[in-house]
Amino acid sequence: MSNDRETLRVALFATCLIDALFPDAGRATVQLLERLGQRVEFPLEQTCCGQMHANSGYFEVELVGRYVDVFSRYDAVVVPSASCAASIHHQHPMIARAAGDEALAVRAESVGSKTYELSQFLIDVLGTDDVGAYFPHRVTYHPTCHSVRLLGVGDRPLRLLRNVRGIDLVELPRWDECCGFGGTFAIKNPDTSAAMLADKMDAVIDTGAEVLCAGDRSCLMHIGGGLERIRAGVRTLHLVEILASTEDEYRPDRAPARSQPGAAPARSQRGAAPAATEEPPG
């Protein structure tokens, strides 16, 4: 890894969902990036990109402004969510313009251009598609709609997964079909969403995989919630949780999920302490 990359000032935008409900994915992101030699900062003023609001028709220009203020000082922002990354790229300038704030739109475009979805950051910025991971399980990968169609991550996540040691990666049938999450779509059109979910679960179960992974915890919350309800015995993990897994540290496959109180902090003990965050901006 070159010196240039080491001197990059990299921030993690964890997303509101991971911050609130899926901290494992956030911890895995920190661990993976540090293993690859990156010093990661987590500015505490961050909250939410506003995607859920925007996709429901509520344009929260203040959240756009907040994202821009918090992250404009960094060289790169890593987002372990294709959906949020796509919203930051495409929706932030639009929301700013809808509010008549052209200056913010221009700043949002600038911050958006250095905001990277995780697999894009690993491959395009760090230049690696082998992160030294080990995960001896049968895994299937669901390419989320926003990762493929809005963000265009292409086969980056699969390239990363193929290089994981011990993995038995199986293709998901009808992988190009939406899982039916769609944010508030799942609430506003519950019957249609449930029908799409049922088909996606059938496809997942057909693969015989132990683990379903994806680059968006939101879609996984929907599919995983359905799989748990029907007791399918398939677990969901964020892509980064597999990539962070190595032979001698961090084994989400071995960890008893969240059934043991206090287990999560224990298994995230690592050699390196997280980088001290300087005074949070904003």
Binding site: I18, L21, G57
Partner: protein
């Protein structure tokens, strides 16, 4: 103003309609089978075109050029078509268009007309309007015939009877087609043959035909109709009088522009390199085809769409229905659930703009925003972005105060670090509603569990790690 049948006002809103459709297993099988077939065929044919993206870019640019200068192209078309012997009429809305057609038919003294499939005439509810004035209009496209005989409504832009399988179509023919053979089988070939026999005499006797147009050429005043069966050619060539209802957005600047659209349209719509028949006519040709040629240029809400800088791209649409065929929502609900002439993703962006978002406020939400529609659209309509824009317009009509308050509260919590940190500490409460809860939560938990909440948020973990790291550093310094 009347928008005719742009929306079916007797229908419940999308979510309720969709619920009924999703629970109809036969319907879902029919639609899934048909859309899967056409999706694969389209993908193969698009795959063999190395310049597909360049064609899409040109198609979008040509349509944008038309929209930016629509007044000029409309006048140019009118002058060219009139110069070649056509009579050009203008209709502000559905009622006006229907009245013009009815009076033109009345002037011929005829009480029966034959029809080519046309979305514009669907949209204005022409067949019903003519029936109210004592004029019988016979649909001649096979699928439209199935719909008309079955007292049904179209559910797809290109194949309106896609919700019916062969067995159901056979039943309709046996019940409603007076000259159907008693031993009619459900073989599509036999069904097509029955339609041929049924319509042949009508084609030969009709004096008036009504069509739409896929494209109108401003430069030459020409119209083009693309079709497969030959019913279109029958209507366009055998009668004495031809009346074409054409949306004002159907224009192309030049004849040359067809070189783009005749490549984009057949591959996108029916998954063919070229559909069996395209007919191009320009006004009246002495000794060939109808000698009374009328063109009705229809607004019916299109100028509303044109006014919206984000939404106007929906007027690029060439009605290929590729977006319907790939849409995961359409595949589960079928077209009727949309309660409108234009179903599917394009309908969800076009319909609310044509009639005003307050009259179709559920349609922009009838999508998971998966983006497949945008990927296949031959004229690059960014349907997801237009949907989001229309959702924004819809919530501003103030029809969902409770939802608005919830989003407002969430937004407020996200606008400050302390508030957000405190809000996240409420997450463990979710533990009590993982498998059930009051509405609207129950719409989630009816089929899926909520996640097991973590013991601490990511940020709380980070802060703790961060603090312990500082302690380590301080410790080292002390040593």
């Amino acid at each position: 103003m009347s928008s005719g049948e742009t929306i079916w006002t007797d229908d419940p809103p999308f979510p309720a309609n969709a619920k009924r459709a999703v629970n109809n297993a036969q319907l879902r099988r029919n639609i899934r089978k048909a859309t899967t077939t056409i999706r694969e065929r389209r993908a193969n044919l698009v795959g063999e075109m190395p310049d597909w993206q360049e064609l899409r870019t040109s198609g979008a640019a040509i349509k944008d050029e038309v929209l930016r200068n629509l007044d000029r192209y409309l006048e140019q078309f009118e002058a060219a078509a009139t110069g070649r012997g056509a009579q050009v009429h203008w209709a502000r809305d559905a009622d006006e268009a229907n009245s013009i057609v009815a009076s033109l038919v009345a002037a011929t003294g005829e009480t029966e007309v034959i029809k080519v499939k046309s979305m514009a005439t669907q949209e204005i509810g022409l067949v019903r309007a003519l029936a109210e004035r004592g004029i019988a209009a016979y649909e001649t496209d096979l699928a439209e015939l199935i719909i008309q005989l079955g007292h049904d409504r179209p559910s797809h832009i290109v194949v309106p009877a896609i919700h019916k399988n062969r067995a159901e179509i056979r039943e309709i023919f046996l019940k409603e087609m007076n000259d159907a053979p008693a031993d009619l089988s459900d073989d599509p070939q036999a069904l097509a043959e029955a339609a041929r026999q049924h319509l042949r005499r009508k084609f030969f006797e009709a004096k008036v035909a009504i069509s739409g147009a896929n494209f109108a050429i401003a430069e030459t005043g020409s119209l083009l109709v693309a079709e497969s069966e030959g019913n279109g050619r029958m209507c366009l060539t055998l009668p004495d009088t031809l009346i074409s209802v054409v949306g004002i957005e159907k224009l192309l600047p030049t004849f040359r522009d067809l070189e783009v659209f005749l490549q984009l349209l057949p591959r996108s719509s029916t998954g063919e390199r070229m559909n069996p028949y395209n007919s191009v006519w320009t006004g009246v040709t002495p000794g060939d085809g109808p000698q009374n040629v009328h063109v009705i240029l229809l607004d019916n809400g299109r100028t509303n769409v044109l006014r919206d800088e984000v939404g106007r791209q929906a007027l690029r649409c060439i009605r290929c229905a590729a977006c319907l065929n790939v849409c995961p929502v359409y595949e589960r609900t079928g077209g009727h659930a949309y309660g409108a002439t234009y179903p599917g993703p394009i309908g969800a962006v076009l319909t609310p703009q044509l009639v005003g978002v307050e009259h179709a406020s559920e349609l922009p939400f009838a999508s998971s925003l998966c983006g497949y529609c945008y990927e296949v659209c031959p004229v690059k309509i960014d349907i997801p972005t237009v949907l989001v824009k229309l959702r924004h317009d819809a919530v501003r009509t103030g029809r969902h105060p409770v939802e608005g308050a919830l989003f407002g509260a969430a937004g407020a919590a996200m606008k400050g670090r302390r508030r957000w940190t405190r809000a996240l500490r409420l997450a463990p409460l979710m533990r009590f509603a993982r498998r059930g809860g009051p509405p609207p939560l129950s719409r989630w938990t009816s089929v899926r569990n909520l996640p097991e909440p973590p013991d601490q948020s990511f940020r709380d973990w980070w802060v703790r790690q961060h603090e312990s790291a500082r302690e380590v550093i301080r410790e080292r310094k002390r040593q």
